[in-house]
């Protein structure tokens, strides 16, 4: 085959490949990449959504620095993320280990544990609203059965955020279980056999083989978990609408209120960007941590 013919074929293959991936590229440009730049521009403007935006430079960003509501929401969102992500990782790993057995009916258990993931967030929030109800909720019925006092899960400032975190863990654990299950099934049995010949017990195998070999999975679950929890909106909007006393107001909810209740789209865009930067920094730290660990190993 001549060089010219080979080049023509290569070009055809490239064009065909491009045609196949074009819809995805176009979709991402229109719905994911363009909005980032539009939002960046809006963050430098005063914009109500109805009249043309007015360029005001970095005023919105300067306003953010002295906005106690925003920084309060950032701290609260970080606290929420710190409560949800580690517990989610631990529980999903334990569940993955449990369902990684070859016993009868295990597929049913896997499906049951996965069910919360496919429950729409609004529906899940409504169910948990009922579970947490101080008068007719299931949790308080259990507490009262043991003569324990009624707990105002979502009405008390000291418990509201933790209660939403509990719901979020329940909903997310099935997905991460699946990821860990895939990771566990990718570990060769040879390692365990070799270790048992050397006299290693189950606990030693878990800490010296399973956990280290699952490091890429830990990283994935950690980063995705952080990105998702730092953008928390729906469950807070449905279950507490940010209350009581702003104790569950996350950055996502604050941005929503500013943009759609107060029509302050420019300022809301600036807040979104700061949140984006925080998420990016945390992701970079997580990736760096992984590389450092690998270098040490």
């Amino acid at each position: 085959m001549g060089v010219k013919k080979r080049n023509t074929m290569k070009r055809r293959i490239a064009i065909t490949a491009f045609v196949f991936i074009a819809p995805v590229i176009i979709y991402n440009i229109i719905f994911r990449i363009s909005p980032i730049f539009i939002s960046l521009y809006l963050s430098l403007t005063e914009y109500s959504g109805f009249k043309s935006p007015t360029f005001i430079g970095f005023s919105n960003y300067l306003r953010i620095f002295s906005d106690t509501d925003f920084w309060g929401a950032v701290l609260r969102t970080l606290q929420f993320s710190l409560e949800v992500v580690p517990l989610n990782i631990i529980l999903s790993l334990l569940m993955a280990i449990l369902v990684n057995k070859t016993i009868r009916g295990i597929k049913v258990f896997r499906a049951i544990y996965y069910l919360p993931v496919i429950t729409p967030m609004v529906a899940a929030s409504m169910i948990w609203l009922w579970l947490y109800d101080p008068q007719i909720g299931a949790f308080n019925s259990i507490l009262n059965f043991f003569n324990l006092p009624t707990t105002y899960f979502l009405q008390d400032t000291s418990t509201a955020l933790h209660s939403i975190a509990g719901m979020r863990i329940w909903r997310g654990v099935g997905w991460n279980m699946l990821i860990y299950l895939a990771g566990l099934q990718g570990i060769s049995q040879n390692y365990y056999e070799a270790a048992s010949i050397d006299g290693a017990g189950k606990t030693r195998c878990f800490f010296s083989i399973t956990l280290p070999l699952l490091r890429p999975v830990h990283l994935y679950v950690l980063v995705v978990g952080m990105i998702q929890t730092l953008q928390t909106f729906t469950e807070v909007y449905v279950m507490t609408n940010g209350g009581p006393l702003e104790s569950t107001t996350t950055v996502g909810l604050l941005v929503y209120r500013l943009a759609f209740d107060y029509m302050d789209m420019g300022y809301a865009s600036a807040m979104s960007f700061i949140l984006g930067i925080i998420i990016m920094l945390l992701s970079i730290i997580s990736f760096t941590w992984r590389h450092t660990k690998e270098a040490v190993v």
Binding site: S48, F50, P134, Q155, G243, E246, F260, D261, M263
Partner: protein, 410 residues
């Protein structure tokens, strides 16, 4: 082949008939089933029969999502021609140049004088921007059976703040730290808290804003009203600090968990439907006075988008939606207060003593102020009211800080 041709022709005919009709889009606020039924099954067919060249395309938007959907819809140019919203939203829409003044079209509505004073609910800076559709008010309700049990006269409603406190104390039943029956169910968060506390403010001779949009709720009257509200919760312990949740779709007063409560006309309609037994035990009264009596009332009205494409068609639809017949149908479905004077003689009002009570209460009505930054101002006020009610801030300090923050919005 012949068959295919005829089908093709029929499809073409249907398509062209559809396209040749003008469409007027209307957004109703609220998703009450009765309202949806009456609009879809009776009103739309009636309108389209009388206006063969027009389609009435109606959507029902939950109140909680209304502002968001309108904001995005109108900003994106896909908003409705006519939409329903509360009267306190008018100033914001006018400020953003989204709705048109209707003064020159009012005369084209069916018997416009029939609206009487309710038409002023659509006024902003001397121009009419909304035609009222239905009204809603907050009155006080109490359980006759709980009053009797506590040795109180069920025919005598609490008349003053002092009596309200005494009645609430007498009817409160506790089970350990929890309420078996709360003497009074006071809202402790959100818009309900703002509206019910404002009743006490007005009863004490205060008001929310002056005519120049300056907050004046941090007056002595306001502080005293908030102190009274907070004392009922923390000192007298007759109302829950956390509020009482509905039991299923029953309000606490209907579920027997509160002896006194503030309820609106839609609440009463729901109690009548879902808990007819409790409904017979509930007595409705105008809230007690300190200096005067006061009840929060608000009218929702139809507004017309400035971007409406065919104004003639839109006005025909507006005229139809606010006609005597439509107003009666809508208010009957909602169990709400009709804004037309003639509608107060309608059968559904005559046969509903509770609704008549709400109509009587209009005499003591106050409404939210129509100011451009109302939503933000209300949220700030709610934030500080919640702090006071939760006991984390002194009432005076809370109101002063709320006023100071709201002043910055101007």
């Amino acid at each position: 082949m012949k068959k295919v041709f005829w089908i093709f022709l029929l499809v073409l005919l249907l398509v062209f008939t559809g396209f040749s009709k003008e469409t007027v889009t209307v957004w109703f606020a609220g998703t009450t089933k009765g309202l949806i039924d009456v609009v879809e099954n009776e009103m739309i067919p009636a309108f389209e029969k009388n206006n063969p060249g027009l389609n009435l395309q109606v959507e029902f938007i939950p109140w909680g999502e209304l502002s968001t959907k309108l904001t995005t819809g109108l900003a994106g140019g896909i908003g409705p021609d006519i939409f329903m919203h509360g009267q306190a939203a008018i100033a914001g829409f006018v400020q953003n140049d989204l709705i048109m003044p209707l003064d020159s079209y009012i005369s084209k509505l069916e018997e416009p004088d029939d609206f009487g004073g309710s038409m002023t609910s659509g006024l902003y800076k001397g121009q009419t921007y909304a035609v009222p559709v239905f009204g809603s008010g907050w009155l006080m309700a109490y359980r006759r059976d709980f009053f009797e049990e506590a040795g109180l006269d069920p025919d005598h409603a609490p008349d003053t703040w002092q009596e309200l406190r005494e009645h609430a104390l007498a009817t409160t039943k506790r089970a350990g730290k929890n309420f078996e029956v709360a003497g009074i169910n006071l809202p402790v968060s959100g818009i309900d808290l703002q509206q019910v506390w404002a009743s006490f403010l007005y009863e004490n001779g205060g008001k929310l804003f002056d005519d120049d949009f300056n907050p004046v709720f941090d007056s002595e009257e306001g502080i005293e009203a908030l102190q009274y509200y907070v004392d009922l919760i923390h000192t007298d312990k007759v109302s829950s600090e956390y509020g009482l949740n509905p039991v299923g779709n029953l309000l606490p007063i209907a579920a027997g968990r509160a002896a006194i409560s503030f309820v609106n006309s839609e609440n009463m309609a729901a109690i009548k439907k879902y808990s007819p037994k409790a409904y017979t035990e509930i007595e409705l009264t105008i809230p007690p006075k300190k200096i005067t009596r006061a009840g929060f009332y608000s009218f929702a009205g139809f507004m017309v988008s400035k971007k409406t494409k065919d104004l003639d068609s839109t006005l025909k639809a507006l005229s139809f939606l606010t006609s005597k017949d439509s107003i009666i149908k809508i208010n009957e479905a909602l169990g709400s207060i009709p804004p037309r004077q003639s509608a107060t003689d309608a059968e559904f009002v005559k046969s509903n003593p509770m609704l008549r009570k709400y109509i009587e209460g209009v005499e003591f009505a106050y409404s939210n102020p129509n100011i451009p930054f109302w939503v933000q101002a209300r949220d700030i006020l709610v934030k500080y009211l919640e702090r006071a009610v939760r006991g984390v801030m002194d009432p005076e300090k809370a109101l002063k800080q709320a006023a100071s923050e709201i002043n910055k919005l101007k």
